[in-house]
Symmetry: none
């Protein structure tokens, strides 16, 4: 009576999820055993190790109930971890990771935001802002902006744009003016400047800001 390899593991995973939802603390090995009608604790341990190897959970050894879901957005709550992938400033280059599939585990810094801040948007990442060029848009030096990957924005939107000729990335409002594009700071003491539309590629659209406290 063999079951497919992942079926039992999937069942364990679901049990952990519902248990977590119900109790707000993770189940013990023996909770899983009785909850999934498994005959032995060693079988549970065996499958938990497999799940950990697959990266679906994380465990702390020798600690009871030390099971953490890492698969579907951590815990079901209203909070989301967003990776801070770098710093953005006028006049400085910024290397962005590949747009798709940013792995939160590869980024050592993350910010926690509520789901309503990203409103269901996918692949949101975050950038630390350097400088006060967007101060009038209430974005200060040191703030963290949430960005949604895209390659085009509507007129007047705030976006992170890459300028090929000068190899730099900057954060401005973007206005199309024929074949040229106007990059407008939100700072009364700064002047807008214009670049060729072909020289510019949009990296991401502004979604929200998190104040650095």
């Amino acid at each position: 009576m063999k079951k497919s390899r992942s079926e039992k593991q999937q069942r364990i995973l679901d049990f952990i999820r519902t248990f977590l939802e119900k109790h707000d603390y993770p189940p013990s090995i023996r909770d899983i055993q009785s909850g999934c009608e498994i005959s032995s604790t060693s079988v549970v341990d065996y499958n938990l190790k497999a799940l950990e190897a697959r990266g679906l959970i994380r465990r702390d050894r020798e600690v009871s109930r030390a099971i953490q879901l890492v698969g579907t957005g951590g815990r079901g709550g209203g909070a989301v971890e967003v990776p801070v992938v770098g710093t953005i400033a006028a006049g400085e280059p910024l290397a962005l990771p590949s747009q798709e599939g940013i792995d939160p585990r590869q980024v050592d810094e993350t910010v926690t935001v509520t789901q309503e801040m990203i409103r269901g948007r996918d692949q949101v990442f975050a950038l630390r802002v350097r400088g006060t060029s967007m101060i009038d848009a209430l974005i200060n030096d040191g703030d963290i902006v949430l960005m949604e990957p895209t390659d085009s924005v509507a007129d007047g939107e705030m976006a992170a744009v890459y300028l090929g000729s000068s190899n730099e990335t900057t954060f401005k409002r973007v206005y199309r003016e024929g074949k040229r594009v106007r990059l407008q700071p939100e700072n009364a003491t700064m002047q807008p400047f214009h670049v060729d539309a072909d020289d510019l590629s949009v990296q991401g659209r502004f979604v929200g800001v998190v104040r650095a406290l």
Copy 2:
């Protein structure tokens, strides 16, 4: 060397919160013991029972790590519901509920913020800001500010203050100047004004801001 009754319990509560944030599972009694530098497990148990009696946590007996936060926002997962208790603006009165024991269930509107925004502070409430008098502090019309109840603030802090003679509440930076107090807007086009220190009572200290998207 006696500490105030709730100080140790507050510390335990904060520790549980941060532990939960870091590990995604609740701490054991001995985790709390070492984390809060408490000498005995029985003391932890004693205070946990007190916290449970006050309704701030929930526990399952005979089960390890079965501590659930119920006080501020249910789950410890990083998101907290903060009640929006009113609107604050220069020149308009505002009725604040009793400082202590604001019941989130009595307020129909709440904002969801991450726990790191309130950093373990207790009794945080929120106010919707009307007007642009604090625009230079990056607080705009329509934004929601998080406030911590207090009756005194350090010089230069932003606070919600009530002026008895004019029966109004306003949100400004507060500077003591002898027997008078200077209320300083954060808007270059506005002038500060002064009130008698006796006429002023501090309602809450600025903790953070949530942008209205």
